[in-house]
Symmetry: C2
Subunit: 378 residues, 2 copies
């Protein structure tokens, strides 16, 4: 059964809309930068900046986010949270197989985000332990200096850990004691476990398993990711036992996302997401990205790179050189007969227009409530 206790995300991310289900943007590498993350948080969601596997650009991003927050209306809860606590009302997402812990902590100790999202260590969960300890250490240092805040309860830095199976969830929980479990299903765009269920079974099975192991585990919120693009998907996630949801593909069509015009055009054009996307490692290989642990691949729009590799047996070297040539074509390089990597989830067919992050959240929340109202009469 779904939890009856109050949703802890409202307390631990105090700037979010208190009257809507929590929604965050996925920390999509090179796409979820300061403008998207701050807009999501300013609209009452939980914005995430992608640091990825390389922390080089992170400090610049956090500085930009600070500026953007200071330009918000003084009454905006995200700005007020920032002003009163000194903590950025957003999170930072790392790809832990590549990210450097020391660099990351140096940046995070100066620019404190409210949340850190850990994903894809080489060894799961062991390699995340030093990260969790270091992040908890930041809080200890800070709480020694801080007094009691006027209006906002200041929660410790929220540690989000992304998992894709029940086994990963229980292992993460008993080793890391995260604050939030992000349960990513098979529909998700971009990287994830090559083999997994969708959130339809992943979320309730995690929920039941945690409850069985430890009745107090019900307090750990599960945030569902993978295929959620509309209010119907968000409501489904809540029905399955999630306390909130992540949207990735949907935010590719946010005005604030840093997405090439050709990429965005494909997101709007594509339909039949289960047929037009595929999980593969080819999109990393053609771009010369080799760091992902073997259990991961990525879901993207089927294009020439994939067809050549899988149907025509083209070797990686030739495919990669064709990719490089394609990259010079600009926006024409995207599409089914192009070669530019177009990561997208199976929800891509549900996305029909570019809207601001605020408009996206308003639309999703309105639909969620409308459908919930109808189902409530069951």
């Amino acid at each position: 059964m779904t939890p009856t206790h109050p949703n802890p995300l409202y307390k631990t991310h105090p700037w979010i809309s208190p009257t809507n289900p929590p929604v965050s943007n996925a920390p999509m590498l090179n796409i979820a930068t300061a403008p998207l993350a701050t807009s999501v948080s300013a609209a009452g969601g939980i914005g995430f900046i992608a640091a990825g596997y390389d922390t080089t650009g992170l400090e610049t991003q956090l500085r930009e986010a600070t500026t953007l927050l200071k330009n918000l209306d003084p009454s905006n809860p995200a700005r007020r949270f920032h002003t009163e606590t000194g903590i950025l009302p957003l999170g930072v997402g790392f790809l832990n197989w590549g990210a450097d812990l020391e660099n990351a902590m140096q940046i995070l100790s100066e620019h404190r985000p409210a949340a850190v999202w850990l994903f894809a260590p080489r060894d799961m969960p062991a390699d995340l332990k030093p990260w969790v300890d270091a992040i908890r250490g930041l809080d200890d240092d800070a709480s020694a200096a801080a007094g009691v805040r006027a209006e906002f309860h200041t929660p410790p830095t929220q540690i989000w850990v992304q998992i894709g199976t029940v086994h990963e969830a229980t292992a993460a929980l008993s080793t890391l004691f995260p604050d939030v479990l992000v349960a990513q299903g098979h529909d998700a765009g971009g990287h994830g476990l090559a083999r997994s269920a969708s959130i339809v079974t992943l979320v309730p099975e995690i929920h039941d398993t945690l409850l069985q192991r430890d009745p107090s585990a019900q307090h750990i919120p599960i945030v569902a990711a993978g295929g959620i693009a509309t209010g119907r998907g968000l409501l489904a996630a809540l029905a399955l036992g999630a306390s909130g949801a992540v949207m990735g593909t949907r935010f590719l069509a946010a005005t604030e996302a840093q997405v090439a015009a050709g990429y965005r055009r494909e997101i709007l054009r594509a339909s039949d997401g289960g047929a037009s996307t595929v999980r593969s490692t080819v999109y990393d290989r053609v771009r010369g990205i080799h760091g992902w642990p073997a259990r991961y691949d990525g879901r993207g729009m089927i294009n020439r790179s994939y067809v050549d590799a899988v149907h025509h047996g083209m070797d990686d070297e030739q495919n990669r050189s064709l990719y490089r040539a394609e990259a010079s074509k600009g926006d024409e390089g995207w599409g089914p007969s192009g070669r530019m990597t177009t990561y997208a989830g199976t929800g891509v067919g549900l996305i029909t227009q570019v809207l601001s992050a605020k408009e996206i959240l308003a639309e999703v929340w309105a639909e969620t409530k409308a459908v919930a109202g109808r189902l409530g009469s069951l």
Copy 2:
């Protein structure tokens, strides 16, 4: 948005529970026989008998169903529907790449089921056209003879067509004019499209696409299949825009299902459905089943057949002979180190006990309502 019009399934399958969301059992070959189908219908669901790709056993099944229905309490709506209309309050599922149309129609004209479920023709949807025409023809013959029934409105034979992509849905709709679309997602156990989305995106995208093409298309109910094993899954399906749901794996643990003890033991034991099951064609190959069109594979528990084929490169001949030897071991042949095919969906980890079909439906419906009540306050 989800439909606001009344759910047509209540009118077209008049014996079903009027106060619960419609649920049917999947027509699982050799498993969904007369006892399961009649129990599901007697409990207020929509029972299906699997005819599969070979109609040999169908007549016996339908005779048995008739007997079972006559033994129900006279006040049972399924029995009353049968008594008053002469139509069996259940459906028959065909695998159309193999089933013989003429044989099938001969049987169906004598033992009229309320619904026929068509799936997996070689050419989709063209090969289903003669089936649809023949089924509609049965109704014309019958209605010439029939008068107006006392209590039950007698709907025409309901044609359910199973699809796995938006493209298949629109093609089926414009060629076949089915009464029900079964939208099968990637989590489903047994056969389905090798590449597809889960119901999280498949159901809403079909819904939106049909509405866009033809606003009157909203009257065609979508029944979701794949991963639904609990009330939370059923509620999620409704939230996504489905008018009802199919459960397959869950009914493997129904007392009335015709399942070997070793198979059922695995269903109860298995956990982490996204990790412990896999989509593959190996389970057909080791059993010498070669008729499935190439676009299909089947999801089953990972076992030695799979590991040997995929990780150890074992050829089909050897794998098949090992399978045959395993079959002589009886119930010991099932399990991760066994070889007996154990089709199951990713929801397998949610199934913890054997219950009657009636108890399963009662539990699922109670959970659906409890969760809907909580979400209704959104």
